[in-house]
Structures are given as structure tokens and as C-alpha cells.
Amino acid sequence: MTPTIDLELILYITALGLISIGLAGVVLSQHLFRMVLALVIAEAGANLMLVLAGYRWDAVAPILTSLGEHPQMVDPVPQAMVLTAIVIGVGIQALAVSILIRIRQRFGTLDRHEVAAHMDAEIAQIAGTSRDMSQESPLGERPLPPLPGTPAASREGRS
């Protein structure tokens, strides 16, 4: 029982903790921006998990320092994969926030239920089906009237 076994345990707990905090955050958040943040956290946890998959406590970093010598090294493959995963994550995150910006402009809110209601109403309107809920305000290109808490001046229509 070396102390390093405890280290792995700590790291596993951190990784699984980040994943569960992140996923719970995604499921439970009411605000879309917060959901994106939670996703970032969960992804970071998954990355840590992946690095852990190749971690050995008695090894050195996978970089040759002197020629001809082969010390025990940490597994390089998961590290390469995590590099890939991190970059993928940031790409998706950038796309997500750009979409959020547009949603905010169109619907004037980022609350998940309100956005879902606006979305349903707009789909129903485009399709021409009868709507279940009565959305008083005109939808589509024009933004909805401001909800409490969002300053009215903060929204301009589509320019």
C-alpha cells in the first residue's frame, strides 16, 4: 500500500465528480448559458478520466530526454487523444455560444423553458397548426416583449 494508490483514487474521484457535477448541471440548470458551462465541466472531467487511463505512478513524461535510454513512461496514447478532445470541446463551445447569442436576440431570453415555449410556438406558427398554448405576442423576426429582469433597451431587432 503505497501512498500513490491514494493519489489515483483521488484523481478518479475528481474525474467522476467533475463528470457527475457537469452532467447534473446540464440536466438541472434552467439557464442555457449555465448548461453550456456545465457541459464544459463535464468534458473536462472526461478528459481527466482519459488521461488517468494511461497514468502510471512510477513513470516519467513520454518525452525522450537522452538517446538510447528507455525509462518507464506514461502512456502517450491517451494524452494524444485528450489533446484532440480538448480542441474538439472548445470548437463546440464556441459554436454553442454563437447560437446562444442568436437565440437571445430572437427570443429575448435564455431560460430553457421559455426558449422551448418560444420554439414550439414558432414551429407551430410556421407549420400553421393550432397552438396548444396561447402566445399573445407576435413571433418570428420580431423579438418578444421583454421579460422581467431584462432591460428593454438591451434588445434590438434584427438589423
Binding site: 475528481t14 448559458f33 458551462l37 473536462a44 518525452i63 489533446l83 480538448i86 463551445q93 429582469g149 438591451s154
Partner: protein
């Protein structure tokens, strides 16, 4: 792996986990973004301890740097860039509006 590294790792893990909880709990969006970048930074340091210097560099540059920059820029565009004072003034406005509507 020495004893001291173990303690550092434990401390970092604790920081990372509590920052992650903060991301979800804290009201202010700027603080949430800051907490998210703390998570990334802590992870980058953990990656150094785990003998993954490449990953650590990437996580620090992309996770802590670039990603926070993107989120911060997005906060501005989303109109969520509110320092506490401003926010409370808006809460006041909201409250007044609410009162007017009730009346």
C-alpha cells in the same frame, strides 16, 4: 511521486471540485465563467503532476485561456456582463416593475 506531490494533488482536486460546484451555484454569470476557468487551470496543474506536459499546456492555453475568453466575449454579447452593483440595480428595477404590474 513524493508525499508532497500527493498533498498538492489532493489540494488541487479539492479546488477543482469546489470550483465546479461553484460554476453551477453562483448567481453571477461572470463569476461562473471565472470558476470554470479555475477548474481548467487546476486541471492543467493536475496534468503536470500526472506527467502529461503536452496536455497541461493545451489545457492551460485552450481550457483556461481561450475558452474563458470565448465565454467572456459571449457574456458581453448576451448582455449578461453584469457586475454585482449593476445587477442589484436591475433587480430593483425588476422589483419596481413587478410592483407596478401588481398594482
Amino acid at each position: 511521486m513524493t508525499e508532497i506531490e500527493l498533498w498538492i494533488a489532493a489540494l488541487l482536486s479539492l479546488t477543482v471540485l469546489s470550483a465546479a460546484v461553484l460554476v453551477l451555484l453562483v448567481k453571477n454569470h461572470i463569476a461562473a465563467v471565472a470558476a470554470a476557468s479555475v477548474v481548467s487551470l487546476g486541471l492543467a496543474l493536475l496534468f503536470v503532476l500526472m506527467r502529461a506536459p503536452d496536455v497541461a499546456m493545451t489545457e492551460a492555453a485552450i481550457g483556461a485561456g481561450l475558452s474563458s475568453l470565448i465565454l467572456a466575449l459571449a457574456l458581453r454579447r448576451l448582455g449578461l456582463w453584469q457586475i454585482d452593483g449593476v445587477k442589484s440595480r436591475q433587480n430593483l428595477i425588476k422589483a419596481i416593475n413587478g410592483v407596478e404590474r401588481d398594482a
